[in-house]
């Protein structure tokens, strides 16, 4: 299955990855190969198999509605590359 350059661009955009033109070309080849490899799975007869999304076989793992102390403000912000007024700072995004 051959991925077009536009498809690679779309996937890169969804993954928030900036790609150079050279990378777009390279990844379109690499991703196509990966898809071909995974395509092999389509040969397996699965019409009678239930899809599995979770391999633990568990269900209804829940907790009671109780609180425990959170991180301190300093701890919470300690990894932030930029902060301002005790908040995480990022480049402006459109709103309103």
């Amino acid at each position: 299955m051959k991925l077009t350059k536009d498809q690679v661009k779309h996937v890169a955009k969804l993954a928030n990855l900036p790609l150079t033109a050279e990378e777009e070309k390279r990844y379109s080849e690499q991703l196509s190969k990966i898809l071909d490899y995974v395509e092999q799975l389509n040969r397996v007869e699965t019409s009678s198999a239930e899809p599995t999304f979770n391999v633990t076989g568990q269900s209804n793992v829940m907790r009671e509605d109780e609180t425990t102390p959170s991180l301190s403000q300093e701890e919470a912000l300690s990894n932030a590359p930029q902060k301002k007024e005790c908040m995480f700072e990022t480049k402006g995004v459109f709103e309103d």
Binding site: V61, F88, T90
Partner: protein, 444 residues
């Protein structure tokens, strides 16, 4: 003949649950007005390796909402990752539900009798809160991971009055169920509408009805008034565009309250591709029949059932029943007063009228107190026509000038006489009943 158009509207309501802790971690969910970034942990900050753990109370609240809306509760339910990049979303995805929502296929009946179909009621988590300051965006993650329930209708609304009624009913329901304070201004409850208009075929009824091939999404509106205004504006805008033979497209619009108009936020080309997939960190939910039954039996009497019962059982008007069942607290106050009233010969009607007309502050007045009042021992209202007539005659005697003025055609003079009666009765006269008595007396 003028072409007529029919609006087609679907609604999505988000409601924040009032659980103690967040949806997938044990941070407090009571974030409103707190210092920024003081209610966070590795899970709700999306730090690598952190694992979510489902809050049982939130799941139960979601099912309760579904049951109250006559939904089918799914035997198997799964969380999924909704992937997109936005600074308010620390993990790069929101844990939500897509193909296996907790509740499906419900319905609710509006005051008009119209039935609105509920497509789904599902559980998800809220995002962080953004603020914009001089070109940069600041993030507070206290709200990140707070349990959020989304209720999606089929596109069954055709007018704004129904939208308003529906939203009000949901708000009332959330409060009855005590699953949320549903305060719109605080953002506990948020509304989104999908709107399109379609030309009604006048010539023939033969052409099959189908949904328009576009819809406009109105997002994140936090007041009943704004949603009504935004939908009204949108219907007008779309009809005008269709009249001009313009092609309408899929887009997301917001509401500008200052300019009183909707504005484009995102067009179709930028539409999101969320790539939902089952959340591998959360095992599936299996909701047993017995669990559903026990949750169902834990539901309080629902507002619309209470309204119906009040009207039928107590023989009061539908309007009064609506007022008296507005909140669970007022309904309880009313019924407690009724019970007390019964022992003291105070009728249902007297109690209902008192509460509807005088709107006692139920946080400071006891139901027994209003019965005492109604017994007339203290400051009871004078409703007896005989007594009112006597007072009216007295007032007419004492205000000869006002009587003359009234007979000359000065309607306002009636107020002077009403004031006279109020003075004589120490403010206890029932004005509504007094007025016709006075008028009759003056005309004789």
């Amino acid at each position: 003949m003028k072409q007529m158009y029919e609006p087609i509207i679907g609604l999505e309501v988000h409601v924040e649950l009032n659980t103690k802790s967040k949806m997938f971690c044990r941070c407090s969910a009571d974030y409103f007005g707190k210092e920024p970034n003081t209610y966070t942990c590795p899970v709700c900050l999306g730090l690598p390796g952190a694992l979510p753990l489902i809050n049982k109370a939130a799941i139960e609240d979601c099912i309760k909402i579904g049951l109250a809306l006559n939904c089918k509760i799914s035997e198997k339910s799964l969380f999924e990752r909704k992937n997109y990049f936005y600074p308010d979303l620390p993990k790069g995805y929101q844990i939500s539900q897509y193909r296996w929502p907790l509740c499906i296929n419900g319905q609710i009946t509006l005051d008009s009798g119209q039935v609105i179909r509920i497509n789904r009621v599902h559980q998800e988590e809220d995002t962080g809160k953004l603020s914009h300051l001089g070109g940069v965006t600041l993030i507070d993650f206290n709200r990140s991971g707070v349990p959020l329930v989304e209720i999606v209708t089929e596109p069954d609304f055709h007018d704004v009055a129904s939208v308003r009624d529906y939203a009000k009913k949901l708000q009332q329901l959330f409060r009855y169920l005590e699953v949320s304070n549903a305060d719109m201004e605080r953002g506990d409850m948020r509304l989104e509408a999908n709107i399109s208009v379609h030309p009604i075929a006048i010539a023939s009824k033969a052409s099959p009805w189908r949904l328009p091939d576009y819809r406009v999404e109105l997002k994140n509106i936090n007041s009943f008034r704004f949603i009504v205004a935004a939908i009204e504006y949108e219907i007008k805008r779309q009809i005008e565009a269709l009249e001009k033979r313009e092609k309408l497209t899929q887009e997301t619009r917001g509401w500008n309250e200052d300019k009183k108009c909707t504005f484009l936020q995102r067009s179709k080309e930028e539409a999101h591709d969320y790539r939902y997939f089952p959340e591998p960190d959360l095992p599936e939910l299996r909701i047993e029949e017995s669990r559903v039954k026990s949750l169902e039996s834990s539901l309080p009497e629902l507002p619309w059932d209470k309204l119906k019962r009040f009207a039928e059982e107590y023989g009061i008007s539908k309007n009064d029943a609506q007022i008296l069942s507005e909140t669970k607290e007022l309904a309880e106050f009313f019924e407690s007063a009724l019970e007390h009233g019964k022992k003291h010969g105070v009728s249902i009607k007297e109690v209902a009228n008192y509460i509807v007309n005088r709107k006692p502050d139920i946080s400071s007045v006891l139901p027994t107190q209003i019965i005492e009042e109604l017994k007339g021992k203290k400051v009871g209202i004078i409703e007896s026509e005989k007594e009112l007539e006597k007072l009216a005659e007295q007032a007419v005697k004492e205000n000869a000038n006002a009587v003359l003025d009234y007979k000359k055609g000065k309607e306002a003079a009636l107020q002077v006489l009403i004031g006279g009666v109020m003075k004589l009765s120490l403010g206890k006269a029932d004005i509504a009943k007094l007025k016709p008595i006075l008028e009759k007396l003056l005309k004789s």
